[in-house]
C-alpha cells in the first residue's frame, strides 16, 4: 500500500451562494520516499490537496489514507497529534513567529512532546545544523534574509523527524540563488534522510528537482511527468 492514498478525494467550499470545488474526485498514490511536485494554474486545487495531505483541511468526500491512517475521520485533537508526529509544513512566506528567535521557532513543535530541555536543545541544534543556519540561532526573523528564514522554517518542519514534508511554493518568495539553495536542501532531505516530499510550485526549475511532477487543473489530475533525478 502506498504511503499516501487518495481515492475520489473531493473538497468543496460554500462561498455565498456558490459552491466551489477546488478538488474533484482525485485519485493519487504517493510512495514512501517520493519527491512529488504539484503544478497547475491558480485555483487548480494544488494547495487544497497539500492542505488535505498535511491534515489542516478535511475532505468533503472520498478517502485519504496516510501511513494506514484514515486522516479524514480523525477528531480535531487526534488530527493535531497526528500532524505533530507525521507531517512538517513548509510555507511560502516562512510563517516564523516574529517575537521568537530562530532557535525558539524551531523548538516550538518540540514543546508538544515529552522531552527534557536538554533533549529539545539537542534536537534543535541538530536541525539548525542540518539546514546550515546554526550560527543564526539567536537571531530574530527580522534579522534574517528570506533564504535564511526559509531554512529556519525547514528546520522547524523537520525537527520532530516527520516522515512527510509538504511545501507550499517554498521558493516563491526567494531570488534565484536562494531558491536553488533551498531546492538543494529539500533534495538532500529527500535523498539522504528519506523524507517523502510533496511540493506545490509554479516554477518549472523547482519542479525539475522532484522525482515526478503532477499537473492539476480544475481539481483534477491532467498528466504526470516523470523527471530525471537531478
Amino acid at each position: 500500500m502506498a504511503l499516501i492514498q487518495c481515492r475520489a478525494l473531493t473538497r468543496r467550499y460554500t462561498r455565498g451562494d456558490n459552491i466551489i470545488t477546488p478538488l474533484d474526485g482525485l485519485d493519487l498514490d504517493v510512495e514512501s520516499g517520493d519527491f512529488l511536485a504539484l503544478m497547475g494554474p491558480s485555483g487548480s486545487g494544488k494547495t487544497t490537496l497539500l492542505n488535505l495531505i498535511a491534515g489542516i483541511d478535511r475532505p468533503s468526500a472520498g478517502s485519504l489514507h496516510i501511513g494506514g491512517v484514515d486522516v479524514g475521520t480523525l477528531s480535531r485533537g487526534k488530527l493535531a497529534d497526528w500532524r505533530s508526529e507525521s507531517v512538517g509544513y513548509i510555507f511560502q512566506l516562512y510563517n516564523l513567529v516574529p517575537v521568537l528567535t530562530a532557535y525558539e521557532n524551531v523548538e516550538l513543535p518540540l514543546l508538544l512532546h515529552r522531552l527534557s530541555r536538554a533533549q529539545r536543545h539537542e534536537k534543535v541544534a541538530t536541525a539548525l545544523a542540518l539546514v546550515g543556519i546554526a550560527d543564526r540561532s539567536e537571531h530574530y526573523p527580522r534579522q534574517l534574509s528570506g533564504g535564511q528564514e526559509q531554512r529556519v522554517a525547514i528546520a522547524r518542519a523537520i525537527v520532530t523527524d516527520p516522515g512527510i514534508l509538504v511545501a507550499d511554493e517554498p521558493t516563491g518568495d526567494l531570488d534565484a540563488v536562494a531558491a536553488a539553495s533551498i531546492m538543494d536542501l529539500l533534495k538532500q532531505l529527500n535523498g539522504e534522510l528519506g523524507k517523502t516530499i510533496i511540493m506545490v510550485t509554479h516554477d518549472p526549475r523547482s519542479a525539475g528537482h522532484a522525482q515526478r511532477t503532477l499537473h492539476l487543473e480544475k481539481g483534477r489530475l491532467i498528466e504526470a511527468t516523470a523527471a530525471a533525478v537531478h
Partner: protein, 383 residues
C-alpha cells in the same frame, strides 16, 4: 494547566507590542488602585460600625445632640448609671475635636478621669513612651498610632489642636479602631483647658455591661433613668453610636462601593481589549501553531494565560500602590468626634491579586475560544 516550558512564549507574546502592553498595565493598575482603596474604606466602615454580637460597651450621649460640642451631660450622672442593674463600669468622657463635620484630618481629645485609666488602657500596647510618663504630668496625652503617624508625633512632643496643648507621654496601639485616632488626656485637664469646657461637664459616658446579651436592656434602663432630667440621654451600643454619628460618611463610603466595581469593570474592558487586538493580529500565527500540532485547547490556554499575566501584573502594581498608601498613610475619616480608619491588610492585597487573575481569565476566555475553534485552512485564506 500549562507547563513552565510555555512561559517564555506567553511572556514574549504579551510584550510584543510594548506600547500597547504598557498602556494596558497602566490602566489596569490605576483601576485596581481605585478598587483596593475603596475596599479599604469599606473595611474601615465595617470594622467601626458592624456589631459582632460580643459588644459590651454602651455610649450615653445627650439626647438630640449630634456633635461633641453640643452634648453636655453632668458628670454626676456617673453614680446613677453605676447603680443600674447589669452595668459593670462607667467612664465619663469629655470630647474635644478640631472639626465636628466630616474631614480627613480631625484631632480628637478624649478626657478620661485618671482613676479610670486602668480600664481604658487595658487593651493598649505602648509603641513608645509609657504609662509612668503619663501619670507624672497633668497635661500628658496618650495618642493612637494613626494620629501620631499622621501628625508625625512621638513621645516627648507637644500636640496642639483645638486650642489644647498636650505633652505626648506615649504612642499606643489599640484593637479598637476609635482609639487609633485619639489623644487620651486627663478629664480635669481637658475640662479646664478646652474652649466650651467646664468643671463637672462631660460629653458622654462609656458604659461596660456584664453580659452582651443585656446590652439593649441596659441602654433602655439608662435612658429611662434620665428621661425627666433637664439633660435626657440617648444610649446606644458603641458601634451603633459610631454608625449614627458617621452616618453621612457611611453613606458616602457605601456609594463608593459602586465605584470599586466600576473600576473592576474597567480592568476587564482593558484586558479584554488588549487580548482581542492581540488575537486579531495573530490569526495567521495561531493557524501556524495549529499546523505544527498545537491543539485548539492549548492555544486557548496560552491566550488565557496572556490575559492572566496582564491582569496580575497590572493588578499587583495597583494593589501594592493602594496598599502602601493605605498602610503608610494612616488615613481616617472623622465625623462628630468618631473616626473611621481606612484599613488595609494582607487579605486586601490577596483579594486584589486574586480578582486581577480572575478578570484576566474572563477577559481571555472569549477570544481564546474563538481562536481555538478557527479552521486552519480558513485562517490562512482569511489573511
Amino acid at each position: 494547566m500549562l507547563g513552565t516550558k510555555y512561559l517564555p512564549l506567553i511572556f514574549k507574546q504579551v510584550t510584543r507590542q510594548p506600547a500597547r502592553t504598557l498602556l494596558t498595565l497602566l490602566g489596569v493598575a490605576t483601576a485596581m488602585f481605585l478598587f483596593i482603596t475603596v475596599q479599604a474604606l469599606e473595611q474601615g466602615v465595617t470594622d467601626a460600625t458592624v456589631a459582632t454580637g460580643k459588644e459590651t460597651t454602651l455610649v450615653v450621649y445627650r439626647q438630640n445632640r449630634f456633635c461633641p460640642f453640643a452634648s453636655r451631660l453632668p458628670e454626676h450622672y456617673t453614680s446613677r448609671v453605676n447603680r443600674i442593674e447589669g452595668v459593670a463600669s462607667v467612664v465619663p468622657i469629655k470630647i474635644v475635636v478640631t472639626n465636628c463635620g466630616a474631614a480627613l484630618d480631625v484631632v480628637t481629645f478624649r478626657g478620661v478621669p485618671r482613676e479610670n485609666y486602668a480600664v481604658v488602657a487595658k487593651k493598649f500596647t505602648f509603641l513608645s513612651g509609657s504609662m509612668d510618663q503619663w501619670e507624672r504630668r497633668s497635661d500628658a496625652a496618650l495618642i493612637g498610632e494613626d494620629l501620631a503617624s499622621r501628625r508625625r508625633l512621638k513621645a516627648g512632643d507637644v500636640l496642639t489642636a483645638a486650642g489644647v496643648s498636650a505633652y505626648v507621654a506615649g504612642v499606643i496601639r489599640s484593637p479598637e479602631p476609635q482609639d487609633q485616632n485619639v489623644a487620651y488626656v486627663d478629664l480635669k485637664f481637658l475640662q479646664q483647658t478646652a474652649v466650651r469646657g467646664g468643671d463637672g461637664i462631660v460629653t458622654q459616658f462609656n458604659v461596660k455591661v456584664h453580659d452582651p446579651a443585656h446590652l439593649e436592656r441596659v441602654a433602655a434602663a439608662i435612658d429611662q433613668e434620665f428621661r425627666h432630667d433637664p439633660e435626657p440621654t440617648d444610649t446606644r451600643p458603641e458601634k451603633a453610636f459610631v454608625a449614627r454619628a458617621a452616618h453621612d460618611l457611611v453613606q458616602i463610603v457605601g456609594f463608593t462601593r459602586y465605584l470599586g466595581w466600576a473600576a473592576l469593570a474597567v480592568v476587564l474592558a482593558l484586558v479584554s481589549n488588549a487580548i482581542v487586538l492581540s488575537v486579531q493580529d495573530r490569526v495567521r500565527e495561531h493557524a501556524v501553531l495549529q499546523t505544527l500540532g498545537f491543539r485548539g485547547g492549548l492555544i486557548a490556554r496560552l491566550i488565557v494565560a496572556e490575559g492572566v499575566l496582564l491582569g496580575v501584573t497590572g493588578g499587583a502594581i495597583g494593589s501594592l500602590a493602594a496598599y502602601g498608601l493605605v498602610y503608610f498613610g494612616n488615613f481616617s475619616l472623622s465625623s462628630e468626634g468618631t473616626s473611621v480608619a481606612v484599613r488595609g491588610d494582607a487579605t486586601l492585597l490577596l483579594l486584589g491579586l486574586t480578582l486581577s487573575a480572575a478578570v484576566g481569565v474572563v477577559a481571555g476566555l472569549i477570544p481564546a475560544l474563538q481562536a481555538s475553534r478557527r479552521a486552519i485552512a480558513a485562517s490562512f485564506r482569511a489573511v
